[in-house]
């Protein structure tokens, strides 16, 4: 059966050990985690975990059920599909020799991202958008030489009904 990418978002108790329960469930049952983001919500007692996984249909059904079964998972939603806003951020440290500096800045301006740190031979660029945009951006920078990269993994929120 075909594997598809699923983006799951869940509200969990903001307590020590909760992340470990979620991650442990994936490792114990042989599911994979492609990316994972955790931070508190507006309610300090609750955190939001956003997790991307690849799974076929029976697998994703089990994953969702198993996650819901965890006592600390308050709410879970599959945000795959179009009804959700999805964003990811990356910090990219790219080599910027004098001959490349203008080209890098041109790409930065095309992608409407920004330079957040600069040195004699590098820029650190902050880019956000959907996953495809970030991948495209990284591909364009590759020829200049990417020194380091840090990506957040996907974040998503369900679009409120109008």
């Amino acid at each position: 059966m075909n594997e598809e990418k699923h983006i799951l978002t869940m509200l969990v108790d903001n307590e020590p050990g909760v992340l470990s329960r979620v991650v442990g469930l994936f490792s114990a049952r042989g599911y994979n985690i492609e990316s994972l983001v955790v931070a508190p919500t507006i309610d300090p007692l609750v955190s939001r975990i956003t997790l991307v996984t690849n799974a076929n249909l029976p697998e994703i059904e089990q994953i969702e059920k198993q996650l819901r079964k965890l006592i600390n998972v308050i709410k879970l939603r599959d945000l795959s599909g179009k009804n959700a806003v999805k964003r990811e951020m990356a910090l990219i440290c790219v080599k910027a020799k004098p001959e490349n500096r203008a080209e890098v800045l041109r790409i930065v301006s095309i992608f409407r991202c920004k330079v957040v740190d600069t040195g004699l031979e590098h820029y650190i660029i902050e880019v956000s958008g959907n996953e495809d945009k970030i991948n495209a951006f990284i591909n364009l920078l590759k020829p200049m030489g990417i020194k380091k990269i840090a990506r957040t993994g996907a974040l998503a929120l369900f679009r409120e009904p109008n």
Binding site: G17, A28, Q62, V73
Partner: protein, 561 residues
């Protein structure tokens, strides 16, 4: 009212009507033990912490209450892990209290420190580390609530020493509410109506009953349902006793060592109603071939059990008892003769399979283990609580002791944990002092927790141990005989001990039978003696459990005796 953590813990125990705790003391729980002296709660001092958990498990299964254990940090805690994992697999409600080093030492590799919450995260229903005595009462309340509601399971609470010996205000009778935890008890009626329609149109229905029937107290409702609709019933190992073993509708146990008729009926039915089961691999064999002609209805309180192993036509999330009771109000039974006519072709077929008596065995001049269990069944009139170890002894107990009532068969089904039966029998005997409790054991597995003899003697528990002694780790030997060219690698244990002398060393009665004609006298004497008894039956060394489905094969492919 200001109380210490230890006192608060005991107050909540009293609120939860705990009457017995199984445990073993140590430095980090010494404050709790000290306060326990002031209560009427009975403490059973085991000889190994694994025994405490198995005993609490047996107690829980025999009584239907939550079993409680108390152990110290470090090795005390790690020794509980096997018992917890077994209870987790079989959905048995336990609350396990472990001591922990004081909070300021946690993470410092202190003496007898271990991250037991981390270790048991995947084998408990939930677990807690209590860092502030102010949270203790609430946590303990929640632990009991989680353990016994929904799909039951073990819950562990790790209590640092400075939490049990400092004071906090205590308020009795706090209500538990966990916003993320709301198990579904009532089934969806629309789904149930679909089931009723399926039953109406089915020609070859079978009910497959599991441990959920026992745990939810659904045996009566199941019996009514099956008898009203005249549907034959098979059971998983955990489901034995959920439907009367003496009823003509009973097919026997299903699966790897299931009866011929149960495996055939399931494989050729057109409607399989699974209730409180999880379609374990020991039941289904090759899943693609399992009940391949059937529409499957699956009732379970745990949504994750549904569609985990087999595809399901109608999933129903709900408590087994509540579901069966609702189903009983919806079914429109035909009058007796019409129903009998409708079922006749199927019942005739089932009867044909039944006539293939695959549990028959040949008597020889050595004792057959099957004969011991069968005789035990007759002498106890099927009324005893039977616990088992794991392996051949477990399967023979399941096959030849025909359980009529729930909560009478206590075995480590999911984890398959050798050393389970004897401590579980201790727990069961404490829960049911009125009952004859017998541990059906092998000579291998009884040695895994034999130290609990001292516990049985200390509390004068009349537990009877029946050892089917073949000098082998019999089930593994059986696999080696059948699938590994009889290379008996590390399965031979023919060096004793002398179990009669061992019993005597502990101050118990030891009896031995070496010939078939000695079986009845030994069982009669052992069962009628007042104290703990070991009965050592020297049985046919290379007897196999049949029928047997090789692992991964369809359950129609049975090796027969």
């Amino acid at each position: 009212m200001e109380l210490t953590g230890a006192q608060i813990l005991i107050k909540v125990f009293e609120e939860e009507k705990v009457d017995t705790i199984f445990g073993f003391p140590g430095g980090m729980v010494i404050d709790i033990y000290d306060k326990l002296e002031d209560t009427s709660i009975k403490h059973i001092l085991v000889r190994h912490e694994q025994g405490a958990v198995h005993a609490a498990d047996g107690y829980a299964r025999a009584s239907g209450k939550v079993g409680v254990c108390l152990v110290t940090s470090g090795p005390g805690a790690t020794n509980t892990v096997t018992g917890i994992a077994s209870a987790h697999m079989d959905s048995i409600p336990l609350v396990v209290i472990t001591g922990q080093v004081p909070t300021h030492l946690i993470g410092n590799d202190a003496f007898q420190e271990v991250d037991i919450v981390g270790i048991t995260r995947s084998c408990t229903k939930h677990n807690f580390l209590v860092k502030d005595v102010k949270d203790l009462a609430k946590v303990v309340k929640e632990a009991f609530y989680l353990a016994r509601t929904g799909r039951p399971g073990p819950v562990l609470i790790d209590i640092p020493k400075n939490v049990s010996n400092t004071k906090a205000p205590y308020e009795a009778g706090q209500q538990v509410s966990i916003k993320s935890y709301n198990p579904t008890y009532k089934p969806n009626m629309k789904q149930l109506r679909k089931v009723v329609n399926l039953i109406d149109s089915a020609e070859r229905p079978v009910i497959f009953a599991g441990g959920g029937i026992i745990l939810s107290g659904a045996a009566k409702a199941l019996t009514t349902f099956a008898r009203t609709m005249q549907i034959p019933v098979t059971g998983s190992l955990m489901g034995l006793g959920g439907f009367p073993g003496s009823d003509p509708l009973w097919l026997g146990m299903i699966g790897m060592h299931g009866t011929y008729r149960a495996n055939m009926s399931t494989s050729f039915c057109d409607l399989l109603i699974g209730i409180g089961v999880r379609f374990d691999d020991r039941v289904t064999g090759k899943t693609d071939a399992f009940a391949s002609q059937a529409k499957i209805v699956h009732v379970d309180i745990d949504p994750t059990s549904i569609r985990k192993n087999v595809p399901v036509t109608i999933p129903i999330v709900g408590d087994c008892r509540s579901t069966l009771e609702s189903l009983n109000t919806l079914i429109k039974p035909l009058d007796k003769t019409t129903l009998a006519d409708k079922r006749k072709p199927w019942m005739d077929q089932v009867q044909k399979w039944k006539e293939q008596n695959t549990l028959a065995y040949k008597q020889t001049d050595t004792i057959k283990p099957q004969y011991v269990v069968e005789t035990l069944y007759e002498l106890t009139r099927g009324e005893a609580i039977i616990t088992t170890e794991v392996g051949q002894n477990q399967m023979w107990a399941a096959q030849y002791y025909h359980f009529d009532k729930p909560n009478h068969f206590i075995t480590s089904g999911g984890l398959g944990c050798m050393g389970f039966g004897f401590p579980a029998a201790i727990g069961a005997q404490i829960a049911r002092p009125d009952k004859t409790v017998v541990d059906v054991a092998g000579d291998g597995s009884i040695q895994m927790n034999i130290q609990e003899m001292a516990t049985a003697l200390q509390y004068q528990l009349p537990v009877k141990i029946v050892i089917l002694n073949n000098g082998y780790l019999g089930m593994v030997r059986q696999w080696q005989e059948l699938f590994y060219d009889k290379r008996y690698a590390s399965t031979c244990m023919n060096c004793g001990p002398d179990f009669v002398k061992l019993a005597e060393a502990y101050g118990a009665l030891g009896l031995r039978a070496t010939k078939p004609e000695e079986v009845i006298p030994v069982l009669e004497k052992g069962l009628s003696s007042p104290g703990t008894v070991i009965m050592d039956f020297v049985v046919a060394k290379e007897e196999c459990v049949y029928p047997m489905v090789p692992a991964g094969a369809p359950i129609t492919e049975m090796l027969l005796a």
